[in-house]
């Protein structure tokens, strides 16, 4: 779906409206045209039939003749009709004075009759013939041979008048009175063509048509305007929202689009948009905090290195003093290096970049591997290290990452364990996962503080100790989650703080 919604709506609305109007107008026009023409034709046909009744065969002459009264009406100066009476072969029986050219209708009807007659002879007898002319669908014409039905047409008279023409085949007979007198009834097939001035009809139809199409056109024009207004009105909340969204500056993610007075359809969109803005704001704030924290964490050791070197350089010193400064700086650098590595790891975990291949790993082996380093660090503090881990327990994890995770958790425990206290590691299966619990005594964390231990750079007393980066447990959380596991932390009575890692077994 591309392009302008407004244009699309306008085009479709207007297109549909104009099409419907045109269709409506065409149908109405056709119906009126048909009705008026038919009325005209029927009146013409009625006149023609009356005329037919006035035609009779003179038995003596054996010729058809028209009663003088019937003919007279056509010869008055104000007469608009004209007629022609023809025999089957097209020869004229009688014609009104202005009927020049009407004969061709008779010829057409005659030829048609001849063809129909032959066709009828070929057809099986008794088959009902169908009307040849659709104008002529009435029942009485259907009973007659079709060729006898009236045919209608248009004709332009010699004087230029538009005429409506009816051609009618009928059988003229000699007078009944003559037959009563004993003479034979003489019949003859004749064709009457009668034309009537249709100028008025055409004018009426023209006026009606113009009126109809004109009105439709005007309606369409108004409809186009109305549609444009309606569409613009309908879409105006959309533009208002667009304007509001456009006003949101990139550094102002706290802004929200007001959705209270929106139509329902738009409210859904703006609410979703606001929710998205909220999530973005949160993510940006987290990112900013993280960057600030990271900068802070890197600045302090940098300040340490700089001060150490500057103080060393203020005056000449002996080799031992320089060596001490270099050793100090190296120590700081080493911790900075591990901090940077941790930050990089977090960034990669955040970006989901670490392709993790999982192995079957025995947690107990890793705990054993870390035990010596931890105990070295704690030597002289009288700390007891207990490990309660059945060797057969296997979990599914990335070996390198789980090593790092356990190292961090144990490091954390070693950092906070009290003198003469204990570090307790327990590995157990729990359903389809493995639980690794690392607990240490000597914790002074409150339940409220425990909720923060997995946050980056969080420390119970908001200040760095000596070398601890404050990144350890947050790294643990992200790494374990990247391996499909979960972490939690809790405190128990007696100053016991426990971190529990849950890892999948498959």
């Amino acid at each position: 779906m591309t392009g302008s919604l407004r244009r699309r709506m306008l085009v479709w609305t207007i297109g549909a409206m104009v099409l419907l109007l045109a269709l409506f107008c065409a149908v109405l026009h056709a119906a009126i045209h048909h009705t008026l023409t038919r009325q005209f034709d029927e009146s013409l046909l009625a006149t023609a039939r009356v005329f037919c009744a006035a035609v009779e065969i003179d038995p003596e002459a054996g010729k058809a003749e028209v009663e003088a009264g019937a003919v007279g009406a056509f010869e008055t100066p104000e007469a608009s009709d004209c007629y022609g009476l023809y025999r089957g072969d097209g020869s004229v029986v009688s014609e009104s004075s202005n009927a020049a050219g009407l004969a061709r209708f008779a010829r057409v009807v005659g030829r048609k009759a001849a063809n129909e007659g032959e066709a009828a002879k070929k057809r099986a007898p008794g088959t009902k013939a169908t009307a040849g002319d659709p104008e002529n669908g009435r029942t009485e014409t259907a009973k007659k041979p079709p060729a006898d039905g009236p045919a209608f047409g248009e004709w332009t008279a010699a004087d230029g008048r538009a005429m409506r023409v009816v051609a009618l085949r009928f059988t003229a007979r000699s007078d009944a009175g003559d037959s009563r007198r004993g003479g034979p009834v003489v019949t003859e097939k004749l064709i009457l063509v009668m034309a009537r001035d249709a100028t008025a009809l055409h004018r009426e139809l023209g006026v009606l048509g113009a009126l109809l199409w004109g009105l439709s056109g005007a309606t369409a024009a108004v409809a186009v305007g109305a549609a444009a207004v309606v569409v613009r009105r309908g879409l105006s909340p959309l533009e208002a929202v667009a304007g509001e969204i456009a006003r949101i500056a990139p550094d102002d993610l706290g802004a929200r689009v007001a959705s209270a007075r929106m139509p329902n359809e738009l409210r859904v969109v703006t609410e979703q948009l606001n929710a998205l803005l909220g999530r973005l704001e949160e993510a940006f704030a987290r990112e900013r905090r993280f960057t600030a924290d990271a900068a802070h964490e890197l600045r302090t050791p940098l300040a340490g290195i700089r001060a150490a070197i500057e103080v060393a350089l203020t005056r000449p010193r002996d080799a031992g003093a320089y060596r001490a400064v270099l050793g100090e700086c190296l120590g700081i650098l080493t911790r900075m290096q591990s901090l940077v590595a941790g930050l990089l790891m977090l960034a990669r975990l955040d970006a989901g970049q670490t392709g993790l291949d999982a192995d079957d790993v025995r947690p107990v082996e890793m705990v054993e591997a870390w035990r010596d380093r931890i105990m070295d660090r704690l030597s002289g503090k009288g700390v007891v290290f207990e490990c309660e881990a059945p060797p057969q327990i296997v979990c599914r994890a990335n070996r390198q990452m789980l090593t790092m995770v356990l190292g961090n958790v144990l490091d954390n425990a070693a950092e906070y364990v009290n003198e003469g206290g204990s570090i307790h590691v327990a590995v157990r299966t729990a359903g389809r996962s493995v639980e690794i619990e690392v607990a240490n005594t000597g914790s002074r964390l409150t339940d409220e503080q425990v909720a923060h231990v997995f946050e980056r750079f969080w420390r119970a007393d908001a200040a760095r100790g000596d070398g601890h980066t404050g990144l350890g447990l947050s790294l643990v959380k992200e790494a374990v989650e990247a391996m499909g596991g979960s972490v939690s932390a809790s405190t128990r009575g007696g100053g016991v703080f426990a971190v529990i890692l849950v890892l999948p077994t498959q």
């Binding site: 600045r299 050791p301 300040a303 700089r306 500057e310 203020t314 200040a463 000596d466």
Partner: protein, 224 residues
């Protein structure tokens, strides 16, 4: 001049204490906020250098509490937080200066000297009393255009007295401003050092500048 340094990051604390002591300051050092507060409340310091994030009591909290107690010592805050909002919060809490880590040692020293000058209402970077001239930045002393070599302690004593030139300075004040908390000395050591100083900066043909005010203390200046 006596300075208190409260900084919890051990490597920085060690280097700074060495640097500040070598620059001639009498220095008390701690890495803990609670202890820092205790030092600040119990002693008179010419400058307090305070890290902002500390275990125990936070740096800003220490600042608020000592200002609440009416302690006037200038405070310089050291911090890794460098946003405008952070600086404003620090200054508004009563800090006199603000230095973002990492910083140059020279700058820290210069700022501390500036705070000392401000504390004694002294605008001139180099001070003169008659023909005696002291340049604290270079830690040099001249008398009648002749440079005089002084030991660290002699210099500290002279600098303090000159800073308060024209005032009678009690022995206890002198002792408090040139000795660290841990020093095992008594205030009569001041008399001994005054003797050393007199021998070095006074002599035949020169106006006496260091005067003993019986029962009160000492005063530097030209007696009218």
């Amino acid at each position: 001049m006596r300075v208190l340094l409260v900084e919890d990051y051990r490597p920085l604390r060690q280097s700074l204490s060495q640097g500040l002591r070598e620059a001639g300051f009498a220095l008390d050092v701690t890495g803990d906020g609670t202890e820092g507060l205790w030092y600040a409340e119990g002693n008179t310091y010419d400058v307090i250098v305070l890290d902002r994030m500390l275990p125990g009591v936070d740096g800003l909290e220490i600042l608020r509490r000592i200002r609440g107690k009416g302690i006037q010592s200038p405070v310089l805050i050291l911090t890794a937080k460098d946003t405008v909002a952070d600086r404003v919060t620090g200054l508004d809490a009563g800090a006199d200066d603000y230095l973002v880590k990492p910083f140059a040692l020279e700058e820290l020293l210069a700022r501390i000297r500036a705070l000392v000058r401000r504390r004694y209402d002294e605008k001139r970077p180099a001070m003169e009393v008659a023909d005696l001239r002291i340049d604290p930045a270079a830690r040099r002393v001249h008398r009648a255009h002749k440079e005089i070599e002084l030991t660290r302690r002699e210099y500290a004593l002279l600098e303090y007295l000159v800073m308060r030139a024209g005032q009678v300075v009690p022995r206890e004040d002198i002792w408090e401003h040139i000795y660290e908390f841990n020093s095992v000395t008594t205030s009569n050591v001041v008399d001994v050092y005054i003797g050393y100083l007199r021998r070095k900066i006074e002599g035949p043909g020169l106006t006496p500048l260091i005067h003993t005010i019986r029962g009160q203390g000492y005063m530097v200046g030209v007696r009218g």
